[in-house]
Amino acid sequence: MDLYEYQGKELLKSVGIEIPEGRVATSPARAAAAAADLGGGVVVKAQVLTGGRGKAGGIKLAEEPEAAREAARRILGMSIGGLGVHRVLVEKVSPFECELYAALVFDRGAKKVLAMLSGMGGMDVEDVAREHPDAIARVYVDPLAGWSTYHGCRLAFEAGLQAELLRPVCDLFARLFEAFTRYEALLVEVNPLAVVGGRLVALDCKFTVDNNALFRHPHIAHMMDIHLADPQEVMARERGVTYVKIGGDIGILGNGAGLVMSTLDVVAEAGGAPANFLDVGGGAKEEEIVTALEVLTSDPEVRTILFNIFGGITRCDEVARGILTSIGRMGITMPIVVRLEGTNEAEGRAIIADAIAAGATNLFVEQTMRGAAGRAVALARGVV
């Protein structure tokens, strides 16, 4: 889970890292009030979980409250990288001497924590890495041994920073590592990290935490509540369904992440447009199928539904009953293509066949993944 800039900065502040004084605002009037409260020049920054805010016009300087109001009026409601802006962060402008880059990364390849520091802050780190690979110092940290002071020293020297910054850099990284481990982050990136009168101030922050660890961090889990803008994703989360919206017209439901991903691919290969990823998980019962279908059909774009079940712990007859219950309860009339294989497949197929014989004309049974995908694509196009 990615945090907004202001949320990440709260976590940095909690470990003693200096951040600019600022306020979050959801309206131009509140942005103006925040600017008056802070006094002096401010920067108004769109809070959005994507890069390229600056280039998109999502960051504006304002000398006084009226200018902050105008800046917020322009930024709120903008769409940056397809995401709507609902909040701005109004911060006091910090005059600085130079800008650094600092980051800690959960490196799944190296199986260590990777610490990075560069004197070339304030620009896209991928550009720096490509054009000046030597400008980024890197140190790997063994998670069992934890952070050592020498890690900070090495970073500062290898990044070529002046000697006065040695102590502040060591102090900053020790705190950054504390935040990284305490909040179980996968990424903490501070860019730019400003040098202000010999002190280091985090002007921006990218903070990604591990979803699997949120049970230990209820205050961070709570931060997530405002992240989900898409109504289907909000509904899915409330009901404990693993759902990702993709945007096509064939609603897809299966068991197991790998099989569902594969199903999306097979549908796309057959010329169709998958609407979503939905994994009902292992051992789903009748009621869980109904819940999953409620989430899936709440997307108005969906015109056809494809079930792809390979029963291991999941029983095909439970799935078949769930489909019929959903049709009865929700009055689903759009076509549903069903492919059931594995545990209790004969019982499951018999239940569907009986329903078709009894007049459920929107049900279609297929034996193979390819056959099911082809049928779903044809139905979505209205060919069948």
């Binding site: 699997n212 594969s262 291991g312």
Partner: protein, 291 residues
């Protein structure tokens, strides 16, 4: 032969008294697997359908001669269970648990580095050596003994492909689900090396998905070290970047970790790559037939 587990493996189930643990332990035993005991602290002396329960892994291992642990412990206690099994001297640990925090697993992985332990998982369906032993949650009825090794990050995709093979009369030596998390105990490379050394395995199917670069690393290993043919598959061509697709490991960040990059790396390593599970089975049949 087979790899990781076989008919001689003696299994102790950590979390045997839980719902999942007792259900699958009995299924595994019914398949012929030597399920010799279970561990639940505080429930030592009890039994689950005749399987004795112990308070600690050490006491279970001493009493039963167990050499494999199968873990069904919930996420917040799962790494504790792994450490206990390692310290009790069990050589093979299969962790089914889904949802273990990544930082916990990062420490476990580094703890295992100087120890001679094979950890499979977590967030995996386990290991089956058809006709010999089933350790985990895989549906044994879709497998049959034979010459194909399977290594996969995904449970249901493993079933789908094994089923397609079995329908064609092609059996499997061992199927290993290495798990869908960012940090797992055994990588593709670890398992490929064991299949290469296993005289019963003639061909390996490697099933990948989006996220990380383990498939790319494995493809290089195939090119440099494998004499046996490896048929590949990757799921997730239609996955949008930045979205987690069910498995904690399946997320594309930046330009790396895409299905296309993985397929390209596999093909560059000389592997034949199927476009869907059906084509994977067709390719396996062709390679085994010498075409």
């Amino acid at each position: 032969m087979a790899i990781v587990i076989d008919e001689r493996s003696r299994i102790v189930v950590q979390g045997l008294t839980g719902r999942e643990g007792s259900f699958h332990a009995q299924r595994n035993r019914a398949y012929g697997t030597n399920v010799v005991g279970g561990v639940t602290p505080g429930k030592g002396g009890q039994a689950v359908e005749g399987i004795p329960v112990f308070d600690t892994v050490r006491s279970a291992a001493e009493a039963t001669g167990a050499d494999v642990s199968l873990i069904f412990v919930p996420p917040r206690a799962a790494t504790d269970a792994i450490y206990e099994a390692v310290d009790a001297g069990l050589g093979t640990i299969v962790a089914i648990t889904e949802g273990i925090p990544a930082h916990d697993m990062l420490r476990v992985f580094n703890y295992l580095q100087c120890r001679a332990v094979t950890l499979i998982g977590p967030n995996c369906p386990g290991v089956i050596s058809p006709g010999k032993a089933n350790v985990g949650i895989m549906p044994s009825q879709i497998f049959m003994p034979g010459p194909v090794g399977i290594v996969s990050r995904s449970g249901t995709l493993t079933y789908q492909i094994a089923n397609e093979l079995t329908h064609r009369g092609i059996g499997q030596s061992t199927a290993v689900g290495i798990g869908g998390d960012p940090i797992v105990g055994s990588t593709y490379v670890d398992i490929l090396a064991r299949f290469e050394a296993d005289p019963e395995t003639r061909l390996v199917v490697m099933v990948g998905e989006i996220g990380g670069d383990e498939e790319e690393t494995a493809a290089r290993y195939v090119a440099e070290h494998m004499t046996k043919p490896v048929v590949g598959y990757v799921a997730g061509f239609t996955a949008p970047p930045g979205k987690q697709m069910g498995h904690a490991g399946a997320i594309i960040s930046g330009s790396s970790g895409t299905a296309r990059a993985k397929k390209t790396a596999m093909e560059a390593a000389g592997m034949r790559v199927g476009i869907d599970p059906t084509e994977v089975a067709e390719l396996v049949a062709q390679v085994l037939a010498g075409r």
